[in-house]
Amino acid sequence: MSTGCVSPDGRLSEKALGLLKLLEEKGALTPVEIAEITKRPLFQVRSSLRELTEAGFIASSEGEKYSLTEKGRAALS
């Protein structure tokens, strides 16, 4: 189910671009850290992260830290 981050043709919403920019600026972050910075509810952050992960823009490592993939960095350039 789409959270509105990625459109069917693969384009990113403002909200999604904002999340990718945040990860570019701060490095790897947990959902709790992102929720605190963006003041968005935790469940909504996790939902967006899931969609961006499935679309290949970000990836998570151990400890639920999310960071940009090559595709994510390319989307911002």
Partner: protein, 227 residues
């Protein structure tokens, strides 16, 4: 021939909260994974645009900050579409100025309601009863409350229950009857003594409702004093 009856599952205290994916008024959710690390008050109401539910949603909305202070996320549900939920939330905002700050699960096919035993056929086969599931940060069901369609819940009691569960976890204690974390007075005003007028069931009744001398917030949401 042997009679075959459908057995509807009822999660119990101590069970892991059943998982589901659904659309809400604040986007899609995967439950309970997306809420890991938070307490959740997952509650059902019979239907959108019904008066008792409206009073409950407004009361929950007004206490949302108190729940947030306790790391609690509120999550509503009824057997309605997301468009109906959105229209109802917008109607409440327009008529009362109060915004609904928590997501409402759209469960048009009743799939989640059945999973959680929120449909009690003796009460109604199509509308969920007023169920409350308190789920802890590890996704375990810690308390369940059921109210019938006709009686609105006391939100202060739900908050008190959260305080009791969190205190029991933190200090390894149990809490007695009427326990509260600190002395407090639960204020009930004249407003609390009013009752709900059953909502109109036809267009004609709805049009005429405003002329009947009740205190109405909208055509479906009127109160009166018992004489």
């Amino acid at each position: 021939m042997e009679e075959v009856k459908e057995v509807i599952s009822m999660p119990r205290i101590g069970d892991q909260a059943p998982g589901f994916e659904a659309m809400t008024t604040m986007g899609p959710i995967k439950f309970p994974e997306d809420f890991k690390g938070q307490w959740v008050v997952f509650f059902s109401h019979p239907a959108d645009f019904t008066p008792v539910c409206s009073t409950e949603f407004l009361a929950f909305a007004q206490m949302n900050e108190e729940f947030a202070k306790r790391n609690v996320q509120l999550l509503g549900l009824s057997i309605d579409s997301v468009f109906s939920h959105i229209a109802w939330a917008m109607n409440l905002k327009e008529k009362t100025g109060i915004e609904i700050p928590f997501p409402i699960v759209a469960d048009a096919d009743g799939r989640v309601a059945k999973l959680y035993g929120m449909l009690h056929p003796g009460e109604s086969s199509t509308a969920t009863v007023r169920a409350v599931f308190i789920i802890d940060p590890n996704g375990k069901i810690r308390a369940i409350i059921y109210y019938p369609l006709s009686a609105g819940r006391n939100m202060r009691e739900i908050l008190r229950l959260i305080d009791a569960l969190q205190t029991a976890d933190k200090y390894g204690v149990a809490t007695p009857a009427n326990w509260v974390p600190e002395p407090q007075v639960w204020e009930f005003t004249e407003e609390n003594t009013k009752v709900i007028v059953p909502p109109p069931t036809s267009y004609e009744e709805a049009v005429n409702r405003a002329k009947q001398g009740y205190e109405c917030i909208d055509w479906y949401f009127c109160k009166k004093k018992l004489s």
